[in-house]
Symmetry: C2
C-alpha cells in the first residue's frame, strides 16, 4: 500500500537517502500493530533504535499492547519523521512496513542492540534490564516516503538496510574508530551538524556503521548518511574523508 500514489515519483538516490535519514534519526516512532483479540489496527508510541545493519529496533514492556500484538502477529508499521512549525503535512515522513523478530536475551545480537540502544537513549538504562522488557528487531519489507505535498515514493525493504560484509567488523570496532576520527578531526561533529542545518549544541558522534554515523546533542539526534555503503573499514574512513572535503570547516 502506497501513500499518495497519485503523485508517485521515481525512487531515486535522494529519496532513498531521505528515507534512511528519517528512519535512522528518529528517537521514537508511532507503531501500528494488529490487536490480537479483534484484528483492529492499534497505534501507539515506542522508543526507536536500530541494529548495525540499519534494521529498526524497539524496546518494549512485555505487558504492553504492542508487545502482546507482535507475539501473535509480527506485522508492524512504523511512522517516523516529526513535523515542525507550519503545516504538519509539509514535513517528510516515512511509513515502514516491518516484520518483528524477537531478540533473544543473552545472544550476541542482544548485546549489540542493547549497547547501541543505550548510546542513543541513555535514560533507558533505568529499565532496559528489567525482566519484562524486550527488544524486537523490525525487518523492513517495504516503505512509503511522503516527502511533503505531491512528493511520494515507494521503497523496498532493502533500500532501508545497510547491506555490507563489514557490518560485524565495524560493530566491534565502532567505538575505537569514532575515537580515532574525533582525535584527527575534533570539529567533525560540530561542522557536520552545522552542514546538516542542525541547531548549535554540544554535538558528539555516538554511533557509526557502514552506512553513516549518528550525532547526538541533548534530545536531538542527527544522521549523516554516506552516499554509498562502506564495504570495509578502509572504505569507511574514505567515506568520512569525502565528507570532510565536502565540509570545509572540518
Amino acid at each position: 500500500m502506497k501513500d499518495q500514489p497519485s503523485v508517485l515519483r521515481e525512487t531515486d538516490a535522494e529519496a532513498r537517502k531521505l528515507a534512511r535519514t528519517l528512519l535512522r534519526s528518529a528517537r521514537y516512532a508511532a507503531i501500528a500493530v494488529l490487536d490480537p483479540e479483534t484484528g483492529f489496527p492499534f497505534a501507539s508510541r515506542a522508543l526507536l533504535g536500530n541494529d548495525i545493519d540499519g534494521a529498526p529496533v524497539i524496546l518494549v514492556s512485555g505487558l504492553s499492547a504492542h508487545t502482546r500484538a507482535l507475539d501473535k502477529d509480527r506485522r508492524a508499521s512504523l511512522l517516523t519523521g516529526e513535523p515542525g512549525k507550519g503545516d504538519p503535512l509539509a514535513y517528510a515522513r516515512l511509513t515502514t512496513q516491518c516484520l518483528a523478530e524477537p531478540v533473544e536475551r543473552g545472544s550476541e545480537t542482544h548485546t549489540r542492540i542493547r549497547a547501541r540502544f543505550l548510546a542513543r537513549h541513555a535514560k533507558a538504562k533505568l529499565y532496559i534490564d528489567f525482566p519484562d522488557f524486550r527488544f524486537f528487531r523490525l525487518a523492513p519489507q517495504s516503505a512509503s516516503l511522503n516527502g511533503g505535498f505531491g512528493r511520494a515514493y515507494v521503497l523496498t525493504g532493502e533500500d532501508l538496510m545497510i547491506l555490507s560484509p563489514a557490518n560485524e567488523a565495524v560493530a566491534e570496532r565502532a567505538d575505537e574508530i569514532v575515537r580515532d576520527l574525533v582525535e584527527r578531526h575534533p570539529n567533525l561533529p560540530s561542522a557536520t551538524a552545522a552542514a546538516l542545518k542542525a541547531p548549535k549544541g554540544d554535538w558528539r558522534i555516538y554511533s557509526l556503521d557502514c552506512g553513516g554515523f549518528d550525532l547526538i546533542s541533548g534530545d536531538l539526534l542527527l544522521r549523516c548518511e554516506f552516499e554509498t555503503v562502506a564495504t570495509d573499514v578502509n572504505a569507511l574512513y574514505s567515506h568520512i574523508s569525502n565528507i570532510k572535503y565536502s565540509i570545509p570547516e572540518i
Copy 2:
C-alpha cells in the same frame, strides 16, 4: 487492547479530562489502518479536526493510502499527544480506536465539519474543496490513555464524546457566543492560555462546543475542557463563568 495493562488504574474524571484534551487539542495524529490488499497495519499522518459532538475528523485525499484502506475496512486507530523535551515516553498519549464514517459532501454535517476544520487549519482552504478530498468522521469505540510511565487507563468511546442535547444549537450559535464572551471578558483567551501553562502568544478562541472551547495562537492549539458537559446554552455561559471565577485574571 490496552496499552500497559500491568499498571492499569481506575479511570477517573481527571483521566477522562486528560484524554479528551489530548484528542481535542491535536493538530494532527498518527492514524493506523489496515492495508486493503495485505491486511498489514499501516501508519501514516493526517490533519485532525473534530465535530461538534467531539468525534475526531480527518480530511484526506481520496487517493491516499489511508482513504483507500478506510473505504474497505472502517477500523482505524488514532495516536494523539506529542512529546516535548526529555524522554518521549514520559509524555501522555492517547490511542483511540474508531470506526470511520464517510461525510457526504453537501450534507449539513459536511458544512459544519468543513467550517470547524477551517477554523483550526486555515491553510486547508487551499485544497479542502478539491474534488478528491474527503472528510471521515471517526466514531470512537474505545481508547487507551497512557499518562506517562506507570499511568495507564482504559476509556470507552462515550468518554470521548460530547453527549449534549444542545450540540446543534451551540454549533449554530458558536460564533455569536464567542464574540459575546470576548466582548464581555476581553482577556478570557490570554488568561485561559496562561492558566493552561501555554506559552505567551496571540491567543484567540476559534471554536466552542458543549464540552469546552478551543484556543489558537499560530501553530499552537489549546483545549479548555469544562468539568461537565453543558446541556443548554445557559449552562454553557455558566460553565464559562465558573472558569472565569477559577482564573482571577479574567
